[in-house]
Symmetry: C2
């Protein structure tokens, strides 16, 4: 019992007990490959986040180990990723200048805050909050972020200044410094970028032709960035290009991850609160979708709340070991998985490999040009850019299209934080709007049956003194008053009316607003001499109604079926109604959504 | 055609053509009664809003006429009301000191902005936005406002300083000045308050015993405040209590409503934007519910979008004639209705009466003590305070209780604007939370029938290799991932599974997030060797799915009915599943909401 509870929060106790030689060899092989791939990626994302290069390696060591202890995915590789690094640069860039001690401290603090939030969300089982980020919003956000990231790296490719956190800032920055382009840097940068694009498309077929198996060719192609880094570093070193203005990584300390402390300044914490929350949610959403995709292939289980704890621990680890915000990354995880990682121990071995690199290999990257790192970033993030989501959303529904386009436009023009928040707000608003005007059909009986259908779609029988309305949505505050308005209109339009029946087969829930609207409808109909009935009310809705006095006050009855209601109300109208317009006045209720059942 | 379109936006063209002698006499009588009642009410709400007393009368003249032209309710009386006056004081009090010209200008500007917003909402038919204010939030807000208003008037009753816009500010203000109580003012104020409470409860029975009919007695009782004002004014005048420290209304200009201009300062407009929006929405919601209640009694129609235009015109009128924000008030409208107002012309006659009062009667109120006005406010607003909404919400649902209690607590502690916004946010959040974990039942066949029911509620037949899940909610972004998680768990728990059937009879809608989740589920189940089927998909949902490639990619089929699905899948499992735990593992899916159908 205690063990099972412990292993829920410490998944390592579960897989650790069954660890064997097969798992060990799979994990070790995966670790070697991932380590080699992670070194350039870590350096590049540190550059993107505005951090010193070694921070990227540090941010991949402790987090990977802590995730291995607390996380539930067996293949997820945690470390710096593009979108989170961009968000870090945007948040910390508002507070301090890149390259200062204040910048590093703010980034550590951001990782700490984000880790604490993820941990809290996991412990209180609040992972569902991430669901408020709809798929179109995430897709739009990642696409816009990819464009922003690629644009932000152009200055490294050209060897000029020109920072910025929005597309407009970046573009004006680049234009202002366009006269200062360093031609050698630009030549290196453009060549590296072109080479890496070729690696993505041309290297794999070449390796296949050279006789490698599909999996080896795939992994070989993934090592392309390492090749670009080795070649350009050697070129800079051999021709002393650093002295000719090519920006290089420079002196990197040879050290294991240092012990660092996040700031506890309340002013800084409050400034970073909102960015940390957004980074946490975006990072979690990215990570969990990678983890679930990989887990399904082996029928393994991902526990979202435990994932929050794993990612929270990883970020807190990053904060205390010189890192910056991290999450589970798609490309590194896929490599890990493809390379045969069997357990989270593969992550621990990767961490050991990276620690070795941090201790002994950093002198080798002194001459690594920043332009090469920028090229690896650009090629990596352009695969995130997928504007087809706009077309897809447009074809599927205008509501989703609104959410995607708002997210993309505002992320590009106003920055990542505004973009995400506006996207979430738009998707919530659009949902409320859609449900605020539910489909309400006037129904009549299909002749000779007990079925009731929309009068606009079917040739059905109605009685002039009875109006039967089927409400195709749960009743809650955004649509409560709509129902009131519709019924208020009905009693004016149909003076011969004596009975209204509301059919509730599709009403899954009624909240207090809707209850009060029903009470108002009941009272107003009674004032107008019309009796209100309900039919086909679901069990849970009936239970809810019984908690109020509505059923006692209801002027009419609750019928089990619409058929029963119609039979009972078929007799002569209880009040002598004046002769009004013919009964097909009901046809004036437009069926705007054009649907039935 | 043109006339019918015109009369939609100018309802006066409709009722004006049928105006006759009966309507005229009813309207005139109502106007006299309402005018007498409105004078003290208008003065009192001007005091509450921090405006000079005459502003209250001015705010009842032009608005009432403009509403008569553009509004659709035949009985609604527009003018200053308690809650909107409180919100005005809160908004304008942040910008200028009460009693200054800047304060009056800011109030005019607030009325103008609010009028323009109402007009825009009406012209663009955006009245549904008001629906996002749920009934519990409104009830909580009005109750908390009533408490705040009553508390804010205590200083006038006691004759001391102590302003504030939150309960804490008011309480500390009163305590700080408690030593300065003016005993004569306090005696007058307490007596007037006690008298007015007695009027509410004791005067009507007394008038009945004196031989008046029920309606006359009711109207007589409503004139109680006028009596209190006459008596206390005479007392102050006779004993020269003004010289002994009793605060009086003082010099009031004898004038028709002046022509005033709102400010067009961008800084002021942007400061007042949010308060104006909240005042517009709250005012509209209050007004429309009064209008609908009164209209239903005569089977008259209220057009919510036209009401927005009417209220917008009224507020713009107030802005140009020395007023402040107005809306349709409950008590004045009920008096108007009970006094027999037949058409909006009654409002015009009331306006004429008030204009007469503004021109000739203002010298009479020079000696009117502010304490009496405060007493009328306190007695009026305490009828708004109804804490039973807390009990009612608690009994009905925790979600509604959360929204009410957050609204009440934050309105009292942090002020009206924060209170409303937090209330709306809470009710939206709670709704998203509820729908983010929809009821998903594992179903099986009731033996010998074609009915499928929850395995936890009924004794049903299931097949070990088929899992049938009924989803009882529309699928959209807050619950899309929940379904993914649930299905990811299922395929781990039931290794013998080969087919999953999702039953969609209660799914009214699918958005792009849910579509992508279904695609991910389909792909992940396929990776795990499980086929996904759908059954009982509604027409509109099917139409939506056809707009994507989901149906082409679906590994299984779409069955018309669950029965058909079960018959077709009843054969031998298509893959030889390993022997797992017995099939009733399905029972592990807790039916937390404990409901079926």
């Amino acid at each position: 019992m205690i063990l099972s509870s412990l292993s829920r929060h410490l998944p390592i106790l579960d897989w650790g007990r069954h660890y064997d030689r097969t798992a060990l060899s799979g994990d070790l092989l995966a670790a070697v490959i991932v380590t080699i791939m992670l070194i350039p990626q870590s350096l590049a994302y540190a550059l993107l986040a505005g951090m010193p290069p070694e921070a990227g390696i540090y941010a991949s060591i402790a987090p990977i180990v802590l995730y291995a202890v607390f996380g539930t995915s067996r293949a997820l590789a945690v470390g710096p990723v593009a979108v989170v690094s961009l968000m870090t640069a945007a948040a910390v860039g508002d507070i301090a200048q890149s390259g200062t001690a204040g910048y590093v401290t703010a980034a550590l603090t951001l990782a700490f805050l984000s880790g604490a939030m993820l941990l809290a969300l996991g412990l209180f089982r609040l992972g569902f909050l991430a669901n408020f980020l709809s798929h179109p919003v995430i897709a739009g956000f990642i696409t816009a972020s990819g464009i922003l990231i690629a644009a932000s790296q152009l200055r490294h490719i050209l060897g000029i200044q020109g920072e910025g956190h929005t597309l407009i800032e970046i573009a004006t920055g680049l234009l202002a410094h366009l006269g200062e382009v360093n031609l050698i840097t630009a030549a290196l940068g453009v060549t590296a970028t072109a080479f890496l694009f070729w690696v993505r498309t041309g290297l794999k077929p070449l390796l296949r032709r050279l006789g490698l198996g599909p999996r080896q060719a795939d992994l070989g192609a993934k090592l392309g960035p390492v090749l670009a880094i080795v070649v350009t570093t050697l070129a800079v070193w051999a021709f002393d290009l650093g002295a000719r203005g090519v920006a290089v990584v420079g002196e990197v300390p040879q050290s294991l991850p240092p012990l660092t402390l996040p700031s506890v300044s309340p002013a800084l914490l409050s400034q970073l609160f909102m960015p940390a929350l957004l980074i946490s949610v975006i990072g979690f959403v990215e990570s969990i979708s990678v983890a679930q995709t990989l887990a399904a292939k082996k029928r393994q289980r991902i526990d979202p709340d435990q994932e929050l704890i794993g990612l929270g621990a990883a970020n807190i680890g990053a904060a205390f070991t010189g890192g910056f915000p991290v999450t589970g990354g798609f490309s590194r995880s896929v490599v890990n998985y493809d390379a045969g990682a069997a357990t989270p121990a593969a992550g621990a071995y990767t961490a050991a490999g990276l620690a070795f690199a941090a201790l002994f290999l950093t002198p080798l990257i002194h001459h690594l040009p920043k332009a090469t790192l920028a090229a690896t970033i650009i090629v990596a993030v352009l695969s995130l850019v997928d504007l087809s989501i706009l077309k897809r959303a447009w074809g599927f529904s205008r509501a989703d299209f609104a959410a995607v386009s708002v997210t993309i436009a505002l992320t590009l023009v106003l920055g990542v934080e505004t973009g995400v928040v506006a996207g979430v707000a738009t998707s919530i608003f659009v949902h409320l709007y859609k449900t605020s005007r539910p489909h309400i059909a006037v129904v009549g009986r299909v002749p000779g049956t007990e079925h009731f259908r929309n009068v606009l779609r079917h040739d059905v029988e109605t009685q002039p003194h009875v109006l039967s309305l089927r409400v195709d949505e749960s009743l809650y505050f955004p649509n409560a008053r709509y129902l009131e308005d519709q019924l208020a209109a009905c009693i004016v339009e149909k003076p011969q009316l004596t009975d209204v029946v509301l059919m509730f087969p599709a009403v899954n829930e009624i909240d207090l607003s809707a209850l009060e609207s029903l009470e108002a409808i009941n009272a107003r109909l009674a004032d107008a001499g019309v009796t209100l009935h309900l039919s086909e009310v679901k069990g849970p809705v009936m239970d809810r109604l019984r908690r109020s006095s509505f059923l006692d006050d209801l002027s009419g009855e609750v019928f089990l079926s619409q058929h029963e209601a119609c039979c009972r109300l078929a007799g002569s109208p209880r009040r002598s109604a004046p002769l009004g317009p013919p009964a097909d006045a009901a046809h004036e209720h437009r069926d705007e959504r054009g649907e039935d059942e």
